[in-house]
């Protein structure tokens, strides 16, 4: 029986608890939150025996094998360290840490002690992402990716969240060194990192506050970000974060030397874009039908998964937790290698550095006046 502890009993903890309980051979032995009423509510709803307001008490009383850290990111490093030192494997919600230096230290500590850790990039394990991974590993692209595009949107139209964040000048998201971006972009960057060929990276970032947010009197939050990434093998990637694109897209495209792939995370749809040409006008007649067939097949696949109970909104989280647990119970490989965690952290560090230094490499083009 794997004994699981949860630190931080907010909204995200609900998702973790519900997915942990779906994995056989697990028991959530303790819930911990600085605010005991929060620990109480999680414990009551998920049948957790012990609840604590002190991490030390959780570790000393329950001796969990693995701890899920679902607190705001500012506390990730300290809590993760404390849990590793107590001998626990750790699942840390995104963003892993505030800086790549902290990420390195945690990975070093876990490696030295023979413990495992993982970051909560669960969108990389949704059914569509797994299908895409399988195809790429099977060589569908015809070689290493040439270019990638990751689009990750965020809706400020969610009035409640927007009100909570925009209306509260002391909200913890605002206090992150990278602000709103730091809390969200690791999902989109992580997808790119998985397919980069090496860690010699160049990053160019440009971020700004959208007109809509500015119109609401908000200038302290950067909600539009464009990033270009280049690795030592000349693999390139664009990352787009936007609160203004509509509909809010969550897409990942990988372009290979032969074929390309598009994963639509919102619709859980994978589109193969093969290099196949037909004669003359057939080139415009046939591909739309073959692509329509792919869309129809995606729809059928999704319905099939739903009927087989494999289409939970949190199926990515369920899969990631399961694979992570196997890494220390069956010595299976980690679903997210440490290299990916570190590279994601480093790219994010660089993005925030550039945004802080007001992007000196972005030059204004002379405006056209007399047309």
């Amino acid at each position: 029986m794997i004994k699981v502890g949860i630190i931080g009993c907010g909204k995200v903890a609900d998702k973790h608890a519900s997915q942990i309980l779906r994995i056989r051979g697990c028991e959530i032995v303790g819930a911990c939150d600085q605010e005991i009423l929060m620990a109480d509510q999680l414990a009551e709803r998920f049948g957790i025996r012990h609840r604590f307001s002190s991490v030390q008490d959780l570790l000393a009383t329950c001796h969990p094998d693995v701890v899920h850290i679902t607190t705001p990111p500012q506390s990730h490093y300290t809590l993760a360290r404390q849990c590793l030192e107590a001998g626990c494997h750790i699942y840390v919600e995104k963003p892993f840490t505030l800086t790549s230096k902290e990420a390195e230290e945690l990975i070093d500590l876990a490696s030295t002690r023979g413990q495992k850790l993982i970051v909560g990039h669960e969108t990389q394990f949704m059914p569509v992402a797994r299908d895409m991974r399988r195809l790429i590993h099977d060589g569908y692209l015809g070689g290493p990716p040439v270019h990638m595009e990751s689009i990750y949107c965020y809706e400020f139209t969610n009035e409640r969240y927007a009100r909570a964040l925009l209306g509260d000048k002391t909200h913890w998201v605002r206090r992150l060194p990278g602000g709103l971006l730091q809390n969200i972009i690791s999902h989109g960057i992580g997808k790119i990192v998985e397919y980069l060929q090496d860690d010699k990276l160049s990053v160019l970032a440009h971020g700004f506050t959208s007109r809509v947010l500015e119109g609401m009197g908000e200038t302290g939050i950067i909600d539009e970000l464009r990033v270009i990434i280049l690795d030592g093998h000349r693999t390139t990637a664009y990352f787009t974060f936007s609160s203004q694109l509509s509909p809010a897209l969550h897409q990942f495209r990988v372009f290979g030397p032969k074929n390309s792939l598009l994963a639509d995370h919102e619709r859980q749809m994978l589109v193969r874009i093969p290099k196949k040409s037909y004669r003359s006008y057939l080139n415009q007649f046939i591909p739309p039908f073959t692509e329509a067939g792919q869309h129809a097949a995606s729809g059928c696949r999704n319905i099939g998964r739903f009927l087989r109970r494999q289409f939970h909104a949190e199926s990515g989280l369920h899969f990631l937790i399961g694979e992570f647990y196997k890494s220390f119970t069956e010595n299976a490989p980690l679903p997210i290698p440490y290299r990916d965690i570190l590279m994601t952290s480093r790219i994010m560090d660089e993005v925030f550095n550039q945004l802080r230094s007001s992007s000196p490499s972005v030059q204004q083009v002379t405006p056209i006046h007399n047309l």
Partner: protein
Amino acid sequence: MHDPAKVGLDGSEFTITPADTILVTGANGFVGSRVVRTLLSYGFERVRCLMRTANISEFREKGLKWENVEIVEGNLLSRDTCKAVTDGASVIYHLAAGVETSYAGCVLNSAVATRNLLDAAASEPKMKRFVSISSIAVYSNEKIPRGGLFDEACEVDARLVDRNEPYTYGKAKQDEIVLDYGKRANLPYVIVRPSVVFGPGKSKITDRIGTATFGVFLHLGGSNRIPLTYVDNCAEAIVLAGLRRGIDGQVFNVFDDDLPKSREFLKLYKRNVRRFLSVPVPYTVWYCFCFLWEWYSRWSEGQLPPVLNRRVCSVYWKGNTYSNEKAKELLGWNPRVSMDEALKKYFAYVRETADHR
């Protein structure tokens, strides 16, 4: 302006004088703003309003005479804020609540916020009464037959987790904390549980009548009486719960008189606001559907969340009769706005909002 004497109150029946400080949390909300207005109309001179974001123009738009109002921006999750806003307060009307869709958000903004406020209130020497606003949704009608009487004597639902309603769960936790402080810290309190509050400012038809979730409006209320209270009537009941002497530790449900049947409401709505297709669904059919949904949710390990389940079905659509006798007797409350007038005002507002859109 309401003259308190006209509602059978004189100074001696109030727990406080007009010069005492009153705190209203959630003061810019749908009901909160009406509570402030009623307090001002009663002649209270020191009303302190706590709101998360002090949108003063919005407050002015609500027609509040605001020279007697002290507006404080803050969050009840901050103990410093709680300490500051309760300083010198004699009565607290606690209307701020978690209305999020997550359990964590509701517990945080209802239960934790209330605990912080109660901690501060318990150490305030001038404190005369803490009025906590709950909801009739916290009751269970499991043991009441269809059409049976639903009043303050009903049991609070002991299996709220099974209902999958974060808001109600948060409110029930809030109630537990208030009762605990009443017992432990001897804090004088009153709990008010309004029914469905309606009026200008809120246009949605209550789920107790029906839902359009599945694309077409399913009329689920049938011939049930709908537990409604017009926002101004509700505000006055809340205000009186903070003022009347000798009611510490009491719980009051707030329903208006002459509650309409669901199908009457719907008919009037269609006549006065807009026509639309509605499909009547008998209670037993809906109950079976809720049962199937609940079963599927369990079988699929939550692939569909159990938002529809038998307990929810029973609470919202079983149909009961409602009594406001206790509120009338002990608070001296009488709904000033008749149901006819209230419905007219509500329909006019919804029509206007729809036209505006």
